[in-house]
Symmetry: C2
DNA sequence: CCTTTTAACTTGCTTTTTGCAAGTTATGTG
DNA sequence: CACATAACTTGCAAAAAGCAAGTTAAAAGG
């Protein structure tokens, strides 16, 4: 982890439901139908461009994608960088705050794998959530921490 | 845990986004602004009647509450029982499938407690998520498993 | 009993969010 | 220089959320 000046506090983000409840706080960040899909793409599938998100399995609409990316950025979960080599492509990445959702994501995977008879969750990963949860979390976070993170 | 005939498979529920992805599966169950609040009330606060949900901190609208309860029941996360003693009050409870969200819930609490400067999360609980996660999960599940569960 | 409360919803209507299709702009590419 | 493409934006229709009021059946009080 290089300590650059990223992940600065998003001054502009104030939760809607300001009750202090942790669940409500989380929902204010990603409590809609698409945000977690985007976070999944970033965290589990290595997607990092607008076009890659657009072509995900669930086919998010382009205007919704734009609005969710904006919201997630304002909420401090992701950041957008210009690609120095190719100035028309932007690269999205998870901040520390976003990467810290890995444990939540893995518990969701475990739960769904357990209750969805048609799950396509990778059995090896699912098994490892139980056998080596901490190791898996660290591995994922390391894998998805860009050099600029 | 008494093994009654509850928690039967909800034949009628088919996920909207049938991609096989565990995250999408989870979102089809509770990927909206209110479902997780209701599950929180059931799991962490011991709420179990319509009126209790209505009076939660976030003040869900009554028609939305009714529709979410119906959906959660169809999705097999909760069940509704008549109260034998008082026939006009219904008692809601989590099914096994719903109780199994405890780990997800706790990771959400941990994440939010960590990133919300104004969190009201109980510090003792938060500490225990790290020090005795498994024990805490079992304790919560046991506490919220009604006799009829 | 008979009136009043109350729990658990439902209905009607307005506002907000989502979704679809098409259009725009600034690069990049042959 | 013509064309392709990444990353959006805009306009409008459809769906969901939110608000206020109404309904129903059962319990509680007198």
């Amino acid at each position: 982890m290089t300590t650059s000046d990223e992940d600065k506090d998003p001054q502009h983000f104030t939760p809607k439901r300001d009750t202090g409840c942790p669940i409500a706080f989380a929902l204010d960040h990603f409590g809609d139908k698409w945000s977690l899909i985007i976070i999944r793409d970033l965290l589990m599938r290595g997607h990092e461009t607008y076009g890659q998100f657009l072509q995900g399995d669930e086919r998010i609409a382009t205007n919704i994608l734009a609005s969710r990316l904006k919201h997630l950025e304002e909420a401090g979960l992701i950041h957008k960088q210009k690609n120095a080599k190719n100035r028309r492509s932007n690269v999205y990445g998870l901040t520390q705050k976003g990467l810290a959702l890995a444990p939540v994501m893995l518990e969701l995977v475990r739960w769904s794998a357990n209750y969805d008879p048609n799950t396509k969750a990778n059995p090896q990963i699912v098994a490892r959530i139980t056998s080596d949860r901490e190791g898996l979390i660290k591995e994922i976070i390391q894998k998805r921490s860009g050099k600029t993170d």
